[in-house]
């Protein structure tokens, strides 16, 4: 019997136990199904078969009707990218953990770039990026701009590499009326431009919107013209640039951070 047949059998006869299985680690599932050869990746098997995926979605639907509704609503919005999905992160990380050792190349995270001096930006780092962050960039700190719990494998990596974590959870600028509070941004800037934390990596989920707002405000501290700030914002947010984010960058009240930065002699930020 193939894995797929087993799964289909389970889905048809015992939706409850399948649901339970879905919530466990791959290895546990493998031993439950009697497949200890490390070949099974449940999520992959399900994703590769549209029929099977539909049926599993229907089953999940029965158990979590509210969840599914919420999810499909989110998907209709333009910006699913902003929603950090711990499961998605874990699935991708698991898939990568198995091949990462054989690679000699270094793999920077998506949307990775220098900002100024030893301040960097990127999307959410995954295990395949850890060697790059540790050995090439020699990070001292990471600042994450999402409110959700940081994944365990990232925490493990950081404690092993002696990288300090700063978490400043923001929910992003979204219609209607969801705004990054200015004082949150100010405390994020205090971390970002403090040379004691450098080299520092700033990231959110995709490294587009929240990170883009923060970088825009760093550029304001460098006195960049707004046109060029917006141009840079759009380059990294492409193809999902938001007018609200650009407004936020323009409206951000920099008085407080400028005062702090001058007192501590952080300005001008060194190239």
């Amino acid at each position: 019997m193939s894995y797929r047949d087993r799964l289909e059998g389970l889905a048809a006869d015992e939706p409850e136990s399948l649901l339970k299985l879905l919530k466990q680690e791959d290895e546990e599932i493998e031993s439950k199904l009697g497949l200890n050869n490390g070949m099974l990746n449940l999520h992959r098997v399900i994703n590769e078969d549209p029929g099977l995926r539909k049926r599993i979605e229907r089953i999940l639907d029965r158990f979590y009707p509210n969840d599914i509704n919420a999810k499909s609503q989110e998907n209709n919005e333009e910006d699913v990218d902003d929603i950090y999905d711990a499961d998605e992160h874990r699935v991708k990380s698991d898939a990568k953990l198995r091949i990462v050792d054989t690679e000699e190349e270094v793999i920077p995270p998506e949307n990775f770039s220098h900002i100024v001096g030893e301040i960097y930006r990127s999307s959410f780092p995954r295990p395949e990026n850890f060697p790059f962050l540790q050995n090439s960039i020699k990070l001292k700190s990471i600042m994450v701009l999402i409110p959700e719990d940081y994944p365990q494998e990232n925490l493990d990596f950081m404690s092993q590499a002696k990288i300090k974590l700063f978490q400043i959870g923001m929910s992003g600028n979204k219609e209607p009326f969801v705004n990054i509070p200015s004082d949150l941004l100010t405390s994020a800037l205090e971390v970002a431009i403090n040379p004691e934390n450098h080299p520092i990596l700033i990231h959110c989920n995709r490294g587009k919107h929240r990170t883009g707002c923060l970088v825009g405000c760093i550029r304001r501290l460098q006195n960049w013209s707004l046109t060029m700030i917006f141009d840079e914002y759009r380059r990294f947010a492409f193809p999902k640039a938001r007018a609200l984010d650009q407004q936020f960058i323009e409206m951000y009240d920099e008085e407080k951070i400028k005062k702090t930065a001058h007192e501590k002699k952080w300005l001008p930020i060194k190239w």
Partner: protein, 206 residues
């Protein structure tokens, strides 16, 4: 009497407030100076930058970077203002000619030859030339080619190199030929002097 109306329109009030007898206008603070980086500007590594062709509005910004070298990736000369700027601030301007044998036949939209890429990279892997700016007309394809090949030397995986190239390639997207060139580039052709190489390069070459 239409001519009168025309005269009215032609008359420019240089200071309307004073003309109307409202006295002096107090300016509480000088307009804030805004720094303008060149088109498509971005730091590549510490003290290494990329951009499109800098124009006079960018010069103050370039001074802040304290550039020692600018690599200009084109056959044609850059604007006179840039030549003068480099001259007066002792910035070494290096031409990485696209096609040295092209003569009259070469096109500004031609890609770079392997020879010119290596020449530019040879300058980039020497920290004595830093701080350094790599630029071309728009900072898209030629600059992208050279930076892409540099990323290959640094051991970046090709997907990340391609993503970075396309980020700067503008709305019409990347050129397949550029990416093929980056992929096929033989990184061994660039000689790296370990004594003179920038720190970040050595860490990855080890």
């Amino acid at each position: 009497m239409e001519p009168d109306f025309d005269d009215e329109d032609d008359h420019i009030y240089i200071n309307e407030e004073t003309e109307l007898g409202r006295g002096n206008v107090l300016v509480s603070h000088a307009p804030k100076q805004r720094i303008v980086p060149p088109l498509n500007f971005c730091p590549v590594e510490r003290y290494l930058y990329r951009s499109g062709q800098p124009s006079p509005v960018n010069f103050q910004f370039l001074l802040d970077l304290q550039l020692k070298t600018i690599i200009w990736l084109a056959n044609e000369e850059p604007q006179d203002t840039l030549l003068e700027f480099c001259d007066s601030h002792a910035i070494q301007l290096q031409f990485a000619t696209i096609n040295p044998d092209g003569g009259e036949d070469d096109n500004p939209w031609d890609g770079l030859t392997e020879h010119s890429i290596i020449a530019a990279l040879q300058t980039i892997v020497n920290a004595e030339n830093y701080p350094l700016l790599v630029c071309c007309g728009m900072g898209r394809h030629r600059t992208g080619t050279v930076i892409g090949c540099l990323r290959r030397i640094m051991g970046w995986n090709l997907a990340s190199v391609s993503e970075e190239y396309r980020r700067f390639a503008g709305s019409r997207g990347g050129r397949i030929l550029v990416e093929l060139l980056i992929e096929a580039f033989d990184t061994q052709l660039v000689e790296i002097d370990r004594v003179k190489a920038p720190q970040w390069l050595l860490q990855d070459a080890q």
